[in-house]
């Protein structure tokens, strides 16, 4: 059913214009959605066919007027402002593009409100000083100067800007107006439009239908009107309420409900469920007025679970689209020396190389990732290409394509249009343009880039790469993509777009105080009193407009739900003040707070169910009995260590044979350090089997020299290698001392990095490598195994405290029947051997026996429990497999 306001309008116009043929009249609409219901109202009112008046928006009407002067597009204005600011160098390092944009906004506002600045800057400054009621200061002078100087610089050209063009169009349109004019209005008009109507009044009859007035006169809307149409100081809630009590028709419960959610998810769920309820009730048009975009996005995903598609009038900022991601990642890659993450990200974008089958690109992405992981290549296209040429010929072609695309971009400062042109070339080479052409958003982006290039054709603002990229980023932030290809009864829209529209149901999403009204954009220019004195609208005008829109929406729609997050991250979050006012009055007058209570109760059960599949049982500690064919035939000491620490970890590593991915390491770390230290010591001892035969200084110098050589490669690349080298150098004297003491005790270096293999049983060998072996000078049969650790003594001692918990030394000792075994702790400027407190031979024997027994049982299918100790689990990469921490632990 049409809201009565439409009938009122229709009747009135028919009454004035006669009842069949309204063609002489013009009705100015707030938007085209209003045409249909208005036409319908004409039909119903006349009860017969009616030739309709011209119904259109003022914007479209004005477009029919021809102008003689060319219009300067905003892209070019921003560029000239940018240039002007750059020349003046007023703002140091500030982002001049965003300043230019702000300034343009200010200029437009001044134009729109017919503000004329005085000719002299001093006069303007004086005007500001007076308006601020301030003493004049430098800050004020400067503000005056910036605005004044740029204003005159920008308005001196011969071309029109959009605001001026609009005013000229309206002025000419007045002359073309030939019949009576009817205007549908919900809020105050801005100056140019006001002037236009004023001028029209002198030529033709003009009648304005102001919804606000109509609401004020309607009894049904008494409550709305009282809550939303008065100023802050006139209130007495109680007497208002008692007046309303006598107007039961203003009762809102059947029209408006409020839902205060606990957090974002619940609000989105409520939206989802309520929309689907409405759909099930057969509602044909459901508007979701989006105030909070995050909730809307979440709600939309939930709706999609139920296969409800949404027509979205609100759209997306281009910067948030994945088509733009491909573009920006490309530029980042170029600017950042092809940092591997950017390249990977780019290769994983479906828009790249879109002129070839996607499998090829995915293959390239996959090969590239393998390559960089393997080599730790972090940046530089050329080095990737080199690597590819050596190891992955297949990857060369795609990488060369990146090189070509990069070469298409200028290396110096050029005008914006030239940048855009070069960009288009490079995107063509990358196959990105082709990819975009397949995608609605991509098409629009392509179109926009082309349009900007055209518009900026004459502009000569030269920019370097960084400046241009910032410009592009700003453009992508400012432009919106709307996908209007969906037809659906569910519509996402803005409040301002609902003027004079009526729907079967409306959901006001995100109606909290922070979003409805949205905070006024204070900006850096002036303040309210100054704006008032200049004739610019105040922040409160913007707020009033929101209030008027809200009033109109509530008056025109019979089913409205407003939702908000009553609590957000555990903090209270207030409802929109306008709705708050409504609720308060309604509560007082009708003892009903409009809360949509039953909706909250419904949510849990109203979820869309996916396909049914048996729910998993409660988690418990896994104890797989391993298939014999998976039991390894070989084990290393570190594998054995893992088996001891946690059988499940061993199972995952050595039976499932799962590994962590290599990481691309961008920085040196302790692992590198350990490797270098091992290498340095090995080389040193190969040269210096016994230090006693040398001067101490000579030996020390040699170790220093060798160390420097070992570290040299890293030093060339990485500054931090210095720190590691210094750390090692601090260790060297202590090491020499320790080695000398060893030798005095009779130990001699025998060899390093010695491989060994122990046949534990028929189908099991224990294999490993020993860091270093010493023998006794007295008796070459007496051996000692050593393992270098770049750790301090205490943690090593801990490792060895419990027998059999660290098997490394025992395994080595077993292999060589060594009489001693020790970790060599190399840290903190000290060197010390740490030996197990137990008898090493016995320990070795027991360890090998245990290994055998465990493997025998594994072959028999004994279960491998995931019972690693807390300290092991803390660093275990298999936690996701064993689900440690997500099963109930045994009591006690």
């Amino acid at each position: 059913m049409l809201p009565s306001f439409f009938h009122h309008v229709a009747q009135r116009i028919l009454h004035v214009q006669g009842d069949r043929d309204l063609r002489a009249a013009t009705v100015l609409l707030p938007n085209y959605h209003v045409a249909q219901p208005l036409a319908q109202a004409f039909g119903e009112a006349a009860g017969t066919t009616v030739l309709l008046p011209r119904m259109l928006t003022l914007t479209d009407w004005a477009q029919t007027v021809r102008l003689d002067t060319p219009i300067q597009p905003d892209t070019r204005r921003i560029a000239s402002l940018y240039q002007a600011l750059r020349e003046r160098d007023w703002f140091g390092d500030a982002d001049l593009w965003s300043l230019s944009r702000e300034l343009m906004g200010l200029m437009d506002e001044l134009t729109r409100h017919h503000v004329v600045l005085p000719e002299s800057e001093a006069d303007f400054a004086a005007q500001l000083t007076e308006a601020y009621r301030a003493r004049s200061g430098q800050a004020l002078q400067f503000e005056a100067r910036v605005v004044h100087e740029l204003w005159y610089a920008m308005t001196s050209g011969s071309e029109l800007d959009n605001e001026r063009a609009w005013q000229q169009r309206l002025a000419r349109l007045v002359e073309a107006v030939d019949g009576p004019l009817y205007v549908l209005q919900t809020c105050n008009l801005a100056a140019p439009e006001r002037h236009f109507l004023q001028a029209c009044r002198e030529r033709v009859p003009v009648e304005v239908f102001d919804l606000r007035e109509m609401v004020a006169e309607s009894c049904e809307c008494a409550l709305l009107s009282r809550a939303l149409q008065r100023d802050a100081n006139s209130a007495d809630l109680r007497s208002d309420a008692s007046l309303l009590e006598r107007q039961p028709e203003a009762w809102l419960s059947s029209r408006l409900q409020l839902f205060g959610a606990h957090g974002l998810e619940q609000e989105a769920q409520a939206a989802d469920v309520q929309i689907r309820r409405w759909l099930l009730e057969g509602k044909q048009s459901i508007a979701v007025v989006v105030q909070d975009r995050l909730v809307a996005r979440r709600a939309r995903a939930l709706l999609e679970r139920a296969q409800v598609q949404v027509r979205d009038e609100t759209g997306w900022t281009m910067a948030t689209l994945s088509v733009s991601t491909a573009l920006m990642r490309w530029l980042e890659a170029v600017q950042g020396d092809f940092y591997y993450q950017d390249v990977l990200d780019l290769l994983k974008s479906p828009f790249l190389f879109a002129d070839a089958p996607p499998a090829e690109r995915k293959q390239a992405a996959y090969l590239f990732e393998q390559l960089v992981r393997k080599h730790g290549a972090v940046a530089q296209l050329e080095s990737y290409i080199e690597l590819a040429e050596r190891e992955q010929r297949e990857l060369v072609q795609p990488l060369v394509r990146l090189r070509q695309a990069m070469q298409a971009l200028p290396k110096k400062s050029v005008p914006l249009a030239e940048w855009l042109h070069a960009l288009s070339d490079s995107l063509q080479i990358l196959g990105v343009s082709q990819g975009w052409a397949q995608d609605a958003a991509g098409q629009q982006l392509l179109g926009s880039l082309g349009q900007w290039e055209d518009e900026l054709g004459d502009d000569n603002t030269r920019c370097n790469f960084a400046e241009w990229r910032r410009w592009l980023a700003q453009q992508l932030d400012l432009n919106t993509f709307r996908d209007l290809g969906v037809e659906s009864p569910v519509l996402f829209t803005h409040l301002a777009a609902t003027r004079w529209r009526s729907f079967d149901a409306v959901l006001l999403l995100g109606s909290d105080a922070a979003h409805l009204p949205a905070p006024a954009n204070a900006g850096q220019w002036f303040n309210d009193t100054v704006r008032a004195s200049l004739g610019l609208p105040l922040a409160s005008a913007q707020q009033a407009q929101v209030r008027d829109d809200l009033l109109a929406l509530l008056a025109l729609n019979e089913t409205v739900l407003a939702s908000w997050q009553a609590s957000k991250n555990g903090e209270p979050n207030l409802l929109s003040p306008h709705l708050e006012m409504l609720r308060a009055l309604h509560l007082l007058a009708y003892r009903d707070d409009l809360a949509a209570d039953e909706l909250g109760d419904l949510l849990a059960q109203a979820k869309v169910q996916g396909e049914a599949f048996a729910l998993p049982p409660a988690g418990e500690m896994p104890r797989p009995a391993v298939l014999p064919e998976l039991v390894p035939q070989r084990v290393s000491p570190s594998g054995y260590n893992s088996l001891v620490a946690c059988p499940y970890q061993f199972y995952a590593r050595h039976m499932l044979r799962l590994n962590e991915l290599d990481e691309v390491r961008e920085e040196l770390d302790k692992r590198d350090y350990g490797t270098w230290v091992h290498a340095a010591l090995q080389r040193f001892h190969d040269e210096f089997k016994s230090l006693l035969e040398h001067e101490r200084d000579v030996a020390e110098a040699a170790l220093r020299r060798i160390s420097a050589e070992v570290f040299a490669g890293a030093l060339a690349h990485d500054y931090l290698a210095q720190a590691w080298l210094l750390r090692w150098q601090a260790q060297i004297p202590a090491y020499i001392d320790w080695q000398l003491a060893n030798e005095r005790a009779g130990w001699r270096y025998s060899g390093a990095e010695t491989e060994f293999e122990i046949g534990v049983m028929e189908n099991l060998t224990l294999r490993g490598r020993i860091d270093r072996i010493d023998y006794q000078s007295e008796d070459m049969e007496v051996l000692r195994v050593l393992d270098y650790k770049t750790q301090a003594v205490a943690p090593l001692r801990n490792k060895l405290k419990e027998p059999g918990e660290d098997v490394q030394l025992a395994c080595y000792a077993f292999d060589l029947h060594a009489s001693e075994a020790a970790f060599v702790a190399l840290d903190g400027g000290k060197v010390d051997a740490v030996t197990p407190p137990q008898d090493i031979a016995e320990l070795a024997r027991l360890n090998i026996e245990r290994l055998k027994s465990v493997f025998e049982r594994m072959h028999q299918g004994v279960a491998l429990p995931a019972h690693g100790a807390e300290s092991v689990c803390g660093y275990c990469e298999m936690r996701g497999l064993c689900r440690h921490g997500q099963w109930e632990e045994a009591h006690g």
Partner: protein, 1102 residues
């Protein structure tokens, strides 16, 4: 305390109010009083310390104002009386009171209730253009990634300039401190950048300034060599040998040995060698003088005298050395610190970013310039006439300086506000955020002096039971190091309360030493390693968990006047640090006690969050086998180990097997891969495909395969959040997790899953989203400081769970029962490698700024700063205890472990409360437990649980149709009454692409030129014509006629058919509709209809 003075709008007031005394009540009441007095809301500025507190104040204010607007007159009178409105004014103020609600809702500008940072942001937005802050900036909350990047950038720079002073200094630091301590020191410097700026502001060369000042203060002369000086000085030699002789003379054997060692040490003539040789004999490793005491046989006096003189000379040299070392370290570290800071600032500048530190500093600078500060007074839409500051003890010196400048500027423009300050220095626990509780006193004096402020104190609490207060008073009253404490009184004198200090848990002696015996090894298959040695802490945890079980259901708590049995949710557990929380949580879990830990920054480390990350990683890196296996094991797929083994045992296959190629094209497009070189192992994803194809997969694996395949296809197309939602939905994530995880964890796990999707939502709303980008961001967040990475999900309705907080987090909270854990622990020690600061409370800049390393290299001059720090730290530790104890409304339980240490919290509370009294909470007089009726909720429409396909994508218009539409539009614009237009304009107005335009125009013009159509197209032939004429028919439908031509005798309706020609019949009904409608309009005149085809044919419809 007299609320009358505090609430009087004319007064400036400083209120020192104890915990639980209703500070918020007072502050909001004052706001109400201000509004009552006619202050416009925009002139009120209230600042508090957290967003949450600000929001709560706002909510409280709204509720009260609604109360005033809606309740009856008596109620309102009572309300006003309660807020100390003069009896004489009450009647007069009633109407005002009633109107405030609406005023509060709609005022423009409105009241500002905000945090400091929120307010600073507002101020900065209004900054004058010439303050160097123009242009858009973005506030960043997470800075550790930036910091790391700055560090890397700086190192790269040093790498390419190895001879620069910075590079040299960095090497010196590496050599002296090592990499990690250097990093720590420089990062700590960066963290204190505001202080650095404040210290060095206005100095042309900040580094030189800082070093000069430090050198002067330490009194070091770097050219001076104290060792040589000591060694060369004859006096020293004398006292040295004098002491050696004393030692030797009738000394013990050791003494004699020492003496001769000493003498031997002197023999080297190199002063340095000599010094190095002597030092270890006289000083311990820790640098303490050895306690060389005289024996009875020795002459004590002479002995001591020579000893003193020797040590004095040595100590002097050592001190000088230490100072020199400290200076040298500062020289290097400050130089590098400044370089790092530059790099960090440049990085943010490039990206137009601002962090909290910048924000504060910029505002401070802004207001320090009096011209700017004054300008800001004008620039705000209304001047603040009343400023209210909550939790003032948490203010830092810079913030106070900002306020001071603000006040000064307000004075300059003659609009001094009243200032209302409320706080409790006893609750100052944010020194690590640079809060300085001493400011409270300074500000009080300032306000008393300049604003005639009233100083009020409030020691009555509304929160705690007298029993709890007895303990509080017992601990703090008269404590010398807790000066200024006044005994607290209880408002609720009847509230039953109970305090119990549980016995300290200590390890039973017998178990401390491991038993001897034969060497045996643990069997890893049957016996888990028990490394949680029965520690004392373990025992405490057991004691704690057992007691919690006892409390719940048995103790009676007072819930807003209603007595009911205690629940888990009534218990708040407090710890000083999180370090050992795991052990306590473990004990709770073992007993099935639900608990919530708001572990900051823990989300991404939880298993459930890592599950989702593994899955996503697999989706963009399909050769990530471990991640795939991980995903398969999650409750989402709940594949068993047997499933995994089925995959693992598939033998290696040669590269590019048939199935592989196939897969490469269809699904993941993943080539089979060669891994680790030899053998060639197929990726797990291909194995899964093979298993499914061969029909050997279990139903779990089949399902996993099907879902994963779908998601792989979407992974690079859908936005991350939408992809995740798909995964959550199709994978039935929430229900499956709920089924799989233990009851006690369920709520937390589900909340975390939710929190994870919200991260994606936020990231997606950002610029340039992509799945790899998202994962990268997560990795960065995981690496970030605890305080910066995402928090675990908040459980919406906390449910009935016990809550664990750190004392810091508990601020502003309360609970009927509070348990303090681990109270025998020592406060954390200073880890060193940090900034040493002396910022006298009232001054604008620090008086001292330097860096220090470990304890040994501090030197004596700065000792007083360290002492001052230590004192402040101790005071804060007591504050922490105060805050912790005062959280308890009724019961306070205290436990600890280890040997009792004097001065620790446990010791202090025990001294005050040696024995627990009767426990009144155990009284069995409670009302029966009321179970909230969880009745069967109304049955839900079953259709809501099913898909509801709605909406569709519009069919694309074909090129042919599109051309038809354009031609239509062209005709409309070319035919009268439309006015002639130039081509370019036509093209634009009809939205025709340039490439198409000429052909279309030609076509249109040829149609228009058809002679037999002239009678419809040329105005000479007809009376009136309309293009695109809208009408509404009797059914209310809006229609359009392409062209309506009125002749004197008849009316023609023309309809263009410019697409496919032919089939006239199809259009009959449509034309009939036109005809009928026009007949009613042109009653009496015949209405004729015709179709006009692109070729010019005119076909009349009968």
């Amino acid at each position: 305390m007299d609320n009358r003075a505090a609430l009087d709008p004319k007064n400036s007031v400083v209120v020192e109010a104890c915990a639980g005394s209703g500070k918020t009540w007072l502050l909001v009441s004052r706001v109400v009083r201000l509004l009552l007095a006619g202050v416009p809301p925009g002139e009120i500025l209230a600042i508090t310390f957290t967003r949450k507190a600000a929001q709560e104040m706002q909510a409280r204010l709204r509720d009260w104002l609604y109360e005033l607007a809606s309740e009856d007159d008596d109620h309102v009178r009572g309300f006003l009386r309660h807020r100390e409105v003069d009896e004489a004014d009450i009647e007069r103020l009633l109407p005002r009171a009633r109107s405030l609600y609406q005023q509060f809702l709609l005022a423009q500008p409105n009241i500002t209730i905000s945090t400091f940072h929120g307010w600073f942001m507002q101020v900065l937005q209004r900054a004058p253009l010439n303050a160097g802050m123009a242009g858009g900036v973005q506030l960043v909350e997470q800075t550790s990634a930036l910091r790391d990047e700055a560090w890397k950038t700086m190192l790269d720079k040093l790498h390419s300039h190895p001879d620069s002073p910075e590079a040299q200094s960095m090497l010196a630091l590496f050599a002296e401190l090592g990499l990690s301590s250097t990093e720590q020191l420089l990062f700590n410097f960066l963290a204190k950048r505001s202080e650095w700026w404040a210290y060095s502001t206005g100095q042309g060369d900040p580094l030189a300034f800082a070093l000069d000042s430090l050198r002067a203060e330490l009194g070091v002369d770097m050219a001076f060599d104290p060792v040589e000086d000591w060694g060369m000085c004859g006096n020293n030699e004398e006292s040295f040998f004098a002491f050696a002789r004393q030692l030797a003379a009738s000394g013990t054997e050791t003494q004699q040995k020492n003496a001769s060692e000493l003498e031997r040490a002197w023999t080297d003539s190199e002063p340095e060698v000599r010094f190095d040789a002597v030092s270890p004999l006289l000083y311990t490793k820790a640098g303490e003088p050895r306690s060389l005491k005289p024996t009875k046989k020795q002459q004590a006096e002479a002995f001591l005298l020579t000893r003193e003189s020797l040590f004095a000379s040595l100590q002097e040299a050592r001190d000088t050395l230490a100072e020199q070392q400290a200076y040298r370290m500062n020289e290097h570290a400050l130089r590098c610190g400044v370089a790092l800071l530059d790099s960090y600032q440049a990085l943010k500048q490039r990206q137009q970013m601002l962090d909290f530190g910048d924000l504060e500093w910029r505002v401070c600078q802004l207001l320090n310039d009096s011209d700017h500060a004054e300008y800001l007074q004008y620039k705000l839409d209304s001047r603040y006439s009343h400023v209210l500051l909550d939790e003032f003890q948490d203010t830092n010196p810079l913030q106070w300086q900002i306020l001071q400048s603000w006040f000064a500027a307000a004075d300059a423009v003659d609009s001094r506000p009243t200032v209302f300050v409320v706080g409790d220095p006893k609750q100052s626990i944010y020194r690590f955020r640079r809060a300085d509780a001493r400011l409270f006193g300074v500000v009080r004096e300032f306000l008393q002096q300049h604003y005639g402020a009233h100083h009020l104190t409030q020691n009555m609490t509304r929160r705690n039971a007298p029993a709890v207060l007895d303990a509080v008073n017992g601990v703090f009253d008269g404590l010398p190091e807790y000066e200024g404490f006044e005994r607290h009184g209880a408002h609720q004198v009847e509230l039953p309360g109970y305090v119990e200090v549980l016995p300290l848990c200590a390890m039973p002696e017998s178990e401390k030493e491991a038993e001897g015996g034969a060497l045996t090894l643990r069997d890893p298959l049957t016996e888990p390693r028990d490394e949680r040695e029965e520690s004392a802490r373990e025992l405490e945890a057991q004691q704690f968990a057992a007691k919690v079980r006892e409390i719940v259901g048995n103790w009676q708590v007072n819930d807003e006047g209603e007595i009911r049995p205690a629940q888990y949710a009534d218990i708040m557990v407090l710890v000083r640090r999180r370090t050992h929380l795991k052990i306590y949580e473990h004990a709770l879990r073992q007993r099935g006690i639900p608990c919530l830990t708001s572990r900051r920054g823990g989300l991404l480390e939880t298993l459930e969050a890592s599950d989702i990350q593994a899955l996503l990683t697999f989706l963009i890196t399909p050769f990530a086998d471990l991640q795939l296996a991980h995903a398969l094991r999650t409750p989402m797929f709940s594949c068993s180990d047997e499933d995994l083994m089925a995959l693992a045992k598939i033998p290696p296959a040669p590269p590019l097997a048939k199935g592989g190629e196939q897969a490469a094209v269809e699904g993941s497009s993943l080539p089979p891969l060669v891994k680790g070189g030899a053998g060639g192992i197929r990726s797990w994803w291909l194995r899964l495909q093979q298993l499914v194809t061969s029909g050997e997969a279990t139903s779990h694996l089949q399902r996993a395969h099907r879902l994963l395949q779908g998601w792989l296809r979407l992974a690079d197309k859908l936005p991350v959040h939408d992809l995740l939602d798909r995964i959550y939905f199709e994978g039935d994530v929430q229900s499956r997790y709920a089924a799989a995880v233990p009851e006690a964890m369920r709520a937390t796990v589900l909340a975390n899953l939710q929190a994870f999707i919200e991260i994606a939502l936020n990231v997606d709303a950002g610029r340039y989203p992509s799945l790899p980008g998202f994962l990268r961001e997560l990795a960065e967040l995981r690496r970030a400081d605890d305080s910066e990475s995402p928090d675990e999900g908040k459980v919406a309705h906390a449910g009935n769970a016990l809550r664990i907080y750190t004392v810091h987090e508990s601020k502003g909270l309360e609970a009927p029962i509070v348990w303090l854990l681990d109270t025998n622990a020592k406060p954390p020690v200073d880890k060193g490698y940090d900034v040493l600061l002396d910022w006298p409370t009232a001054s604008a800049r620090p008086a001292h700024f330097s860096l220090y390393g470990d304890k040994a290299s501090r030197g004596p001059t700065r000792e007083r700063y360290f002492e001052q720090e230590a004192q402040l730290a101790q005071r804060e530790d007591l504050n922490l205890l105060y805050v912790a104890m005062t959280r308890a409304k009724q019961a306070l339980l205290v436990s600890g472990n280890g040997e009792r240490i004097e001065g620790m919290w446990y010791d202090r509370i025990t001294n005050a409360q040696p024995q627990a009294g009767e426990n009144p909470l155990l009284a069995v007089s409670a009302a029966p437990v009321r179970h909230a009726a969880i009745g069967a909720a109304a049955a839900v429409d079953i259709r809501l649980t099913q898909p509801l396909p709605t909406g569709s994508r519009k069919a694309a218009t074909s090129a042919q149709q599109q051309r038809g539409i354009w031609l239509h539009a062209l005709l409309q614009h070319l035919l009268p009454p439309a006015e002639a237009a130039v081509e370019a304009e036509l093209c634009q107005r009809c939205g025709i692409p340039e490439a198409e335009f000429d052909a279309l125009l030609e076509q249109a013009q040829s149609l228009l030129a058809q002679p037999h159509l002239q009678c419809y197209f040329d105005p000479l032939h007809y009376r009136i014509a309309c293009n695109e004429m809208p009408y509404v028919d009797a059914q209310g439908e809006l229609k359009r006629i392409d062209r309506l031509v009125e002749f004197d005798s008849e009316v023609w309706v023309l309809d263009y058919k410019l697409g496919d020609s032919g089939d006239v019949v199809r259009h009959r009904a449509q034309m009939q509709g036109y005809r009928d409608a026009m007949r009613t309009v042109y009653a009496g005149r015949p209405v004729r209809c015709a179709l006009v085809f692109a070729d010019g044919t005119l076909q009349e419809m009968e």
